[in-house]
């Protein structure tokens, strides 16, 4: 079994992350953030901070370039719009001094009215085909219900941050990012320097899950401080800042009506969705909540409308399978409700409404059109779905990405049996360093140890995409295959990622079965077992795929049962911006996770036949768990996370209902 190339570095502590740089003369920076959810910044006086021994640079709106940021706001805006918005920053000889200096910055705020619950309308998107009213009239069964999901926080263990170093007019950023080129281009633009003058390096990074796919303010702040102090500056966010101001998965409210004939054939899907996008629109991968409603099942009449609401809280940003995770919970819960209403087995109901074409793209056939069917059958088979027992749940999913796309450029140099592979992507822990080297080794017919891969550096100028959409491997892999073929002949090969087929649509998909046990006294849910089968095309490295699957399911368990940013609506303040009270899954919370993923080369998608699997495994987990809870208890929980208080309350209501109906 091929293990990670950087394994030894990571287990010995030698792997250098952005936070681990210790350069001569390096300073440590901290950011002063708004304590108000909405306020005018009337006055910022940094003189006391500047006078503190060990402080080397202080910047605020008054003494930094006027740089535009999210939408029409500025780097240090005169209005702060959430608790955590940037106001000023300090670089000092030590973190402790920088922290002291923040306390010496005097800011006068004029607090303004704020809203962290309802919000104001930002934008609306509608997708529609057929007529849902007609479809609902034709239905023998209709499920109508509202589902909600909570704000989830990425909480990658390495916070956002970077180390900025200027040499003359050239900036080097050692950045914890999922997009070295995104950061290079955005930072260059903000600073008004040429892209070629900015180099971004990410040899290792401690997780991102979507939140590190854009340039955030800290990178530019670090660069400005480094310039002002004429020293390298390290600016790592702390855990609180990470939870306030570096993105989140937005809370949603989804009102669904789905209709079906007696035999289970869907006649209508109608989804009205609102979600909270925070104080600003950040950019990066969009949270598309409408997508899966349009494509997962065959249905003539579908309407999905999503409305983003702005609130005075930290901005949302892509989080592993953005939009699909939230929408899948609602749709797959509703499908389960429909199955029970119609008296049809939940797995059978999915297969009954199977589609081989992308209904959102002029009914183009999917490449690997049977892969979702195979995943469903595989998950159900390994789980022994048909061996009926209490407390089992099922959900399937699709994901519009995972297929990769241009542009990307790859270079391979091959001499004396040794290969150098240069790519412009980064390894965020998903393992492209290893998988790409394996592809090169196989194509060149050399051992893996003879491949040197250069990754996580913009300097070679070979563009690679941001790690998003589960697209790194299927974007870079096929180009690498071509470059390696050329290099095998001539010693040097360079190739671009080709276009995807025009007459086919590429997606990834999967299915999960879950078994739970419930303590009806305490409301505690124990997830016993999850069987997950996902379509990732050809499997390059089974061990890495398994890691993605168990990792996604583990995050899914947290999302389903415990993860929730709790907001004090009166104060506009998140109450659990830390890892103590924001509950990510721990070792004690996880079930046995069985990875039932099979290799299903998708030759029509690309020459390599591989697709990405970074995001998908988190997508169906929450719905499958909720469905299993219903199966165990007969109560339907439609609000994530399904915490003990919610389950106990629901069980009590159910008991009262049963008692009352037996007395009636």
């Amino acid at each position: 079994m091929t293990t990670r190339l950087e394994g030894a570095e990571k287990v010995t502590g030698k792997a250098r992350y952005s936070s681990d740089l210790r350069l001569p003369g390096q300073l440590f920076a901290k950011v002063l953030r708004s304590p108000h959810p909405h306020a005018r910044v009337v006055r910022v006086d940094t003189s006391r901070a500047e006078a503190l021994a060990g402080v080397r640079a202080v910047i605020s709106a008054a003494d930094s370039p006027d740089i535009s940021w999210f939408e029409d706001s500025r780097l240090f805006d005169s209005t702060v719009r959430y608790i955590g918005d940037e106001v000023a920053a300090v670089a000092a000889d030590s973190e402790e001094i920088a922290q002291d200096a923040l306390r010496l910055i005097d800011v006068t705020y004029l607090p303004l009215a704020f809203d962290v619950s309802e919000g104001k309308l930002a934008d609306t998107k509608v997708q529609e085909r057929g007529n849902v009213l007609t479809g609902l009239r034709e239905a023998d069964f209709v499920v109508e219900a509202t589902y909600t999901t909570a704000t989830a926080l990425h909480n990658a263990l390495e916070p956002h941050g970077c180390t900025a170093v200027w040499q003359r007019d050239e900036l080097t950023l050692y950045e914890s990012t999922q997009g070295i080129f995104a950061v290079r281009d955005e930072v260059a633009e903000k600073l008004g320097v040429a892209k070629e003058k900015v180099r971004v390096l990410t040899p290792h990074m401690g997780g991102g899950f979507g939140a590190k796919q854009v340039a955030w303010k800290h990178s530019v702040i670090a660069a400005l401080l480094a310039k002002k102090a004429a020293r390298p500056v390290q600016l790592m966010l702390d855990r609180t800042e990470e939870n306030l101001a570096s993105g989140n998965r937005n809370a949603t409210r989804q009102h669904l009506r789905i209709g079906a004939k007696r035999d289970g054939t869907l006649t209508a899907i109608d989804a009205r969705i609102t979600f909270q996008s925070g104080a600003y629109k950040v950019g990066g991968e969009d949270s598309d909540l409408t997508g899966t409603y349009m494509t997962l099942y065959h249905c003539e009449n579908v309407r999905a409308e999503q409305t983003a609401m702005k609130i005075n809280a930290g901005p949302s940003v892509a989080f592993r399978g953005p939009g699909y995770v939230e929408a899948n919970f609602a749709l797959e819960s509703a499908m389960d409700e429909l199955a029970h209403k119609a008296g049809i087995d939940p797995v059978e109901l999915r297969l009954k409404n199977y589609t081989e074409v992308n209904q959102a793209e002029d009914n183009k056939p999917y490449t690997s059109a049977q892969s979702l069917r195979r995943c469903i059958e595989r998950a159900a088979g390994v789980f022994e779905w048909n061996r009926k027992r209490k407390g089992i749940g099922f959900a399937s999913h699709d994901w519009m990405a995972g297929g990769g796309w241009p542009p990307a450029t790859v270079e391979v140099n091959f001499r004396d049996g040794r290969a150098e592979v240069i790519v412009g992507v980064q390894d965020i822990g998903t393992g492209p360093r290893t998988a790409l080297a394996q592809i090169a080794a196989a194509e060149l017919g050399i051992p893996l140890s003879q491949v040197d891969i250069r990754i996580g550096d913009t300097q070679p100028g070979l563009y690679g995409p941001t790690s998003s959409g589960s697209a790194t491997l299927p974007t870079i892999g096929p180009a690498l295959l071509q470059a390696a073929r050329k290099a095998k002949k001539s010693g040097h090969g360079r190739a671009e990622r080709g276009e995807n087929p025009e007459d086919k649509s590429i997606r990834t998909c999967g299915a999960q079965c879950v078994e739970v046990s419930i303590d009806t006294e305490t409301g505690e849910v124990t997830v016993l077992r999850v069987v997950a089968a996902h379509d990732c095309g050809r499997i390059i490295n089974p061990l890495l795929v398994e890691s993605q699957v168990i990792g996604g399911v583990t995050q899914g368990v947290g999302y389903a049962l415990s993860e929730e940013r709790v907001m004090d609506e009166r104060l506009g303040e998140p109450l659990n911006a830390n890892l103590e009270e924001y509950k990510v899954a721990t070792l004690r919370d996880i079930p046995e996770i069985v990875n039932a993923t099979e290799s299903m080369p998708d030759e029509e998608a690309n020459a390599l036949g591989a697709k990405g699997v970074g995001e998908p495994p988190i997508i169906p987990t929450a719905a499958a768990i909720a469905n299993a809870i219903f199966d165990a208890t007969g109560v339907r929980l439609r609000d994530l996370p399904i915490t003990r208080d919610k389950l106990l309350m629901a069980l009590n209501h159910e008991t009262v209902r049963v008692l009352e109906s037996s007395h009636a």
Binding site: M1, T3, R4, E6, G7, A8, E9, K10, V11, T12, G13, K14, A15, R16, Y17, S19, D20, R22, E95, E96, H154, N155, A156, L157, E158, P159, H204, M205, G206, G207, F209, M236, D238, R239, I428, G429, T430, G431, L543, L544, E546, S547, Q548, I550, G551, G552, V553, T554, Q555, N578, L579, E580, V584, A585, T586, L587, R588, I590, E592, I593
Partner: protein, 149 residues
């Protein structure tokens, strides 16, 4: 001056009383294997051994370590991989790797005392270490491999 033994070497540190062991290791001694992920004793990424016991180094003041013995991930394995480190690689017990030094140090403190721990003891030893990539299942696999060898 605070005398402190780290990975077998004696150091004398001139540090502020408020400096944590974690910051002293990372900044004063350049040992950056222990990670600062939460800095408030919630995640375990900064775990080191203090007199053999696993501790969150962000919750210990460096001055309180005077005369005591600290082992960090850099001090594990004497030039070659410790069985736990090798097993972590084999089992793919990490993804981004940021929590990994802490996970290994928590397990090492257990295995130093009990070379053949039960599953329950392994889980208990790891229950204070978060892994946001969700590699727990493989981390437990790695620990079992070492135990069962």
């Amino acid at each position: 001056m605070t005398p402190i033994r780290v990975n077998g070497a004696q150091h004398r540190l001139e540090i502020e009383p408020r400096r944590t062991l974690l910051d002293a290791l990372r900044t004063d001694l350049g040992l950056t294997g222990a990670k600062k992920a939460c800095d408030m004793g919630n995640c375990g990424a900064c775990t080191v051994q203090l007199d053999g016991n696993a501790v969150y180094s962000c919750l210990v003041l460096a001055v309180d370590c005077a005369g005591r013995e600290v082992t960090t991930i850099e001090g594990v394995g004497n030039g070659e991989l410790h069985p736990l480190q090798a097993a972590f690689i084999e089992a793919d017990a990490f993804q981004c790797g940021y929590c990994t030094p802490g996970q290994i140090m928590s397990l090492k403190a257990l295995f130093d005392r009990r070379p053949h721990p039960s599953d329950e003891e392994i889980e208990r030893a790891l229950s204070g270490n978060l892994c946001r990539c969700g590699a727990y299942q493989h981390i437990v696999d790695a620990a079992r491999r070492v135990r069962d060898k």
